[in-house]
């Protein structure tokens, strides 16, 4: 493991912040020994999460920012994204894999986050916005167990 293991940023609610977050986690993952597929997946999952935060959460408002945390340890890549929106209920989002959802032009972001990260936890409230916690383990299915990586 080399460097760039922990980062805490406040980002504007812009599409460029979405791109920036993706580039940051890709480079962090790469410098810390994640393989190219994992780098891609971490990038995409973060991209979708950040896009939701700046668009659905903060409505691209110049007055609202996104709190972005990324950290890497022996086990996993962890990300937290918190917006200042008015929240939503993840359980009432239409399933994009259903017959009715399949041809809709949107609604695939959460699905992609869940496909690319091992853990996705969404906390949301009208007052405090949405906080998404993402975890990607170095070794698939390594959730919770302690293990050493050879570097």
């Amino acid at each position: 493991m080399t460097d760039a293991r922990k980062l805490r940023l406040s980002l504007e609610s812009t599409l460029d912040s979405v791109e920036a977050a993706e580039l940051i986690v890709q480079r962090m993952a790469e410098l810390n020994g994640f393989d190219p597929d994992q780098v891609h997946q971490i990038g995409m999952g973060v991209r979708e999460t950040m896009a939701n935060a700046v668009i659905h959460g903060n409505g691209l408002s110049p007055d609202k920012s996104v709190r972005f945390d990324a950290s890497i340890d022996e086990q996993a890549f962890r990300v937290r994204v918190a917006d200042e929106g008015s929240g939503f209920d993840p359980d009432s989002v239409a399933d994009p894999l259903d017959k009715g959802g399949l041809l809709l032009p949107s609604g695939r972001g959460l699905l992609m986050m869940r496909a690319f990260f091992d853990e996705v936890e969404i906390g949301s409230s009208v007052d405090s916005g949405t906080r998404v916690r993402l975890v990607k383990y170095r070794t698939k299915g390594a959730g919770g167990t302690t293990q050493e990586e050879d570097q």
């Binding site: 599409l15 399949l102 041809l103 809709l104 032009p105 949107s106 695939r108 699905l111 992609m112 496909a115």
Partner: protein, 113 residues
């Protein structure tokens, strides 16, 4: 611009060569206006060549679906050509592979309409 498009006529099929990324923002709009243009000019067979598209996000997938449904509403069929592996993964995850007919050979794709 992160996406560029070029249109070719192969027999009666409009082949759209896409190059770059289909993502949130400009790129999605670029695809939408190209498709609209073709539909307005009366196209009924459209082949989207994704051979040079290495990256699509959920917004870009949404644009592909929109292209498909809009075209269908105007009696035009949309098919895909040369889907790259990362994009293929996304079609699997989202089950959109059940929606899009995809080909790896242009000549076969053109005659399949």
């Amino acid at each position: 611009m992160s996406l560029s498009t070029a249109i070719r006529d192969v027999a009666d099929v409009k082949v759209v060569d896409l190059s770059g990324r289909i993502t949130l923002g400009e790129a999605s709009g670029q695809l939408r206006s190209t498709v609209k243009e073709l539909l307005d000019s009366g196209a009924t067979k459209m082949l989207l060549n994704l051979g040079d598209v290495s990256y699509i996000d959920s917004s870009g997938l949404g644009e592909l679906v929109s292209a498909y449904t809009t075209a269908r509403g105007r009696s035009c069929t949309v098919k895909l050509l040369n889907v790259q592996s990362k994009v293929q993964d996304l079609l699997q995850i989202t089950k959109l592979y059940t929606v899009f007919e995809a080909h790896t050979d242009e000549a076969t794709a053109v005659t399949s309409f």
